[in-house]
Symmetry: C2
Subunit: 374 residues, 2 copies
């Protein structure tokens, strides 16, 4: 099975092997070095100089932690969003009685940083701007650097969902003025799902002192205190941390710069293939996490996905919400080798042609291979 | 290394092997059968006829879910506690603005159900009683059946921390009037840490309709809706679920009744050994999860634990909070074979004797073996 999905991503063998070893005891003497080593190495992949905490939650749990540790009931925030995952910020904020001002772009487009600036001017009491780095439902990359320049000139925090972007794109929190960034194990980090990571900077730390939203399991002050002793306040998923240790070793050997470059090269190849096949590149400002391919009206994306899986052993993402059946989301996130990406493109060509699409079989693979060779 | 600790417990080989297999995609076609099969089989281990949800959190996350899904700010509750883990209920409730009435027993003793009755009479508006089945910091088992008889005659909910007890003791929620019960993967279930389980009954379901505490990640209505499609609302730790599938198969083969009996037999053997060595059985109403051994004043428990680990490869729990260094907590929870328990007892005898304890080396093992033979 070839997994070309934006998480859980394929897992390198050495990560699997590490996790199959004997269980580490989370109160035992070896645990603090494991945890603090992971925390230090994870900082390099954002990169971030902020405090970093590991939570036993999915990425959404860390997004909620970002909100409940910095805000108070009745606060207002600006959510900059352009897709399904951006919607999660509204939902979390609304669940906690936060007033949400929405700055929205059409799905497939990116939110214009100038619109964020205008929203901040119109809502000077906004406590935070919440944004999505790589919007995985559409394949769009937001310009967090530009948004950060705008937000850092105000009292508002910039809180960024980097769940799918970290390891595929740099997210230098300190340079870009990102106060809180979250990611999760099963994405660029190449570990199975089961823990999330939150980078929490000094401006966020100040905000946390006045935050009154209720929290216990997600209370980062507990994590800060426990981390000083090399532990989590609650039981952490040790097996997955052992996997993370192996994954971070692999990342260290390849080098995070090379990994960013690999994601850029592979995504560029997928985009070249899409163009060569005369298909629609759905994302206006495409992410290197995944390539969204708009399908011809006559072709049912769900049927394409079934054929890809059953006839070719290739798993790609489909469209979410109103895009269901309308796009394919072909991801090269994590541990994807060029050959798997090419096999995926070849399978897509074949299936679309079989289903009556006006497709020149081979054109996509040829274009992609040319890009990958560079 | 012989792990005699109350979680993470030793993992059977078949569980390790299952987790080393290829990754299952949480949006793929095989996932719903995996998740719903686990949910159905987990119901048998409580046993419970209630709805059961899996959360990507530690046990504490599920405890918090029990609170935020049933209560509202300003509600009052009764916390029945007698140890470190019972304290967690206060902390969670207080973080959410719930008024807590505490019914406390000294560490090492169990809360008297009649005291819970008296607290309910004195606080007729209490919305819930929160209790701990097996209090792992002291080794005490609470009489949840008796507490349930009292609470079920009132409008209050009975919410039980079964994190360490499930699989070691029956916790028949429906028969005992338990409205919410929580447990976690790394305990009797014999899976590494990384997910929690919540059983949520009809009286709790009614309460959830009027609960106004804020929640998103822990909102069980989202879990209920997603489970109908065989999914979680957020990414679940699939690798650990594959492990859980194997563990539940093993539990099914041994039979949950036999597993309860095994825990009873092994804990009884550990207690017999403690008595034979002239040591103090710390728990007045002992759990079958672990045996708390009170040490002579002259012996430092931390040094005992270090020697056990370094000289004998045996890991046991130590005393928490004011019991630090004063007790050993020897657990037979999960996948512990008789030989490992005996080796642990033998190591304890040897270390205590080496440290100048008045110990008849061999007496503990002999008594334990006699009990195990029965």
């Amino acid at each position: 099975m070839i997994l070309l999905i934006p998480g859980p991503t394929p897992i390198p063998n050495r990560v699997q092997t590490a996790m199959a070893g004997p269980l580490v005891y989370h109160r035992g003497p070896d645990f603090p070095a494991l945890l603090t080593g992971i925390v230090e190495d994870v900082k390099r992949v954002f990169p971030t100089g902020h405090d970093v905490y590991l939570l036993s939650t999915s990425g959404t749990g860390a997004m909620e932690a970002a909100v409940v540790n910095t805000l108070s009931p009745g606060d207002s925030v600006i959510v900059a969003r352009a897709g399904n995952f951006g919607l999660r910020w509204d939902k979390i904020c609304e669940a906690y009685g936060i007033d949400v001002v929405i700055v929205e772009a059409e799905w497939g487009k990116a939110v214009d940083p100038d619109c964020v600036r205008a929203a901040l001017v119109a809502n000077p009491s906004a406590r935070a701007v919440l944004a999505t780095h790589s919007e995985t439902s559409t394949g769009v990359l937001h310009d967090i650097e530009a948004i950060g320049k705008i937000v850092s000139g105000t009292d508002a925090l910039l809180i960024v969902d980097g769940v799918s972007s970290v390891c595929a794109h740099p997210l230098p929190t300190d340079d870009w003025g990102v106060d809180v960034a979250v990611t999760a194990s099963q994405k660029g980090l190449m570990v199975p799902p089961g823990f999330a990571i939150i980078a929490f900077g000094p401006k966020a730390g100040k905000a946390s002192e006045r935050s009154t939203l209720p929290k216990h399991y997600l209370d980062l002050s507990e994590y800060r205190q426990s981390l000083e002793e090399g532990r989590g306040p609650f039981t952490l998923p040790v097996t997955l941390l052992v996997g993370a240790r192996a994954a971070l070793d692999a990342i260290g050997e390849e080098g995070i710069d090379s990994i960013w470059e690999r994601h850029a090269r592979q995504a560029s190849a997928a985009r070249a293939a899409t163009n060569a096949l005369g298909l629609d590149l759905f994302a206006e400002r495409p992410s290197n996490v995944l390539t969204s391919i708009g399908l011809p009206e006559t072709i049912d994306g769900l049927e394409v996905m079934t054929r890809l899986r059953e006839q070719h052993g290739v798993v790609v993402g489909g469209g979410l919400a109103h895009l269901r059946g309308r796009i394919l989301r072909v991801s090269n996130l994590g541990y994807v080798v060029d050959e798997d990406l090419l096999a995926g493109i070849e399978a897509i060509e074949t299936v679309l042609s079989d289903m009556g699409g006006d497709i020149e079989v081979g054109a996509g693979v040829t274009s992609a291979r040319d890009v990958l060779k560079k």
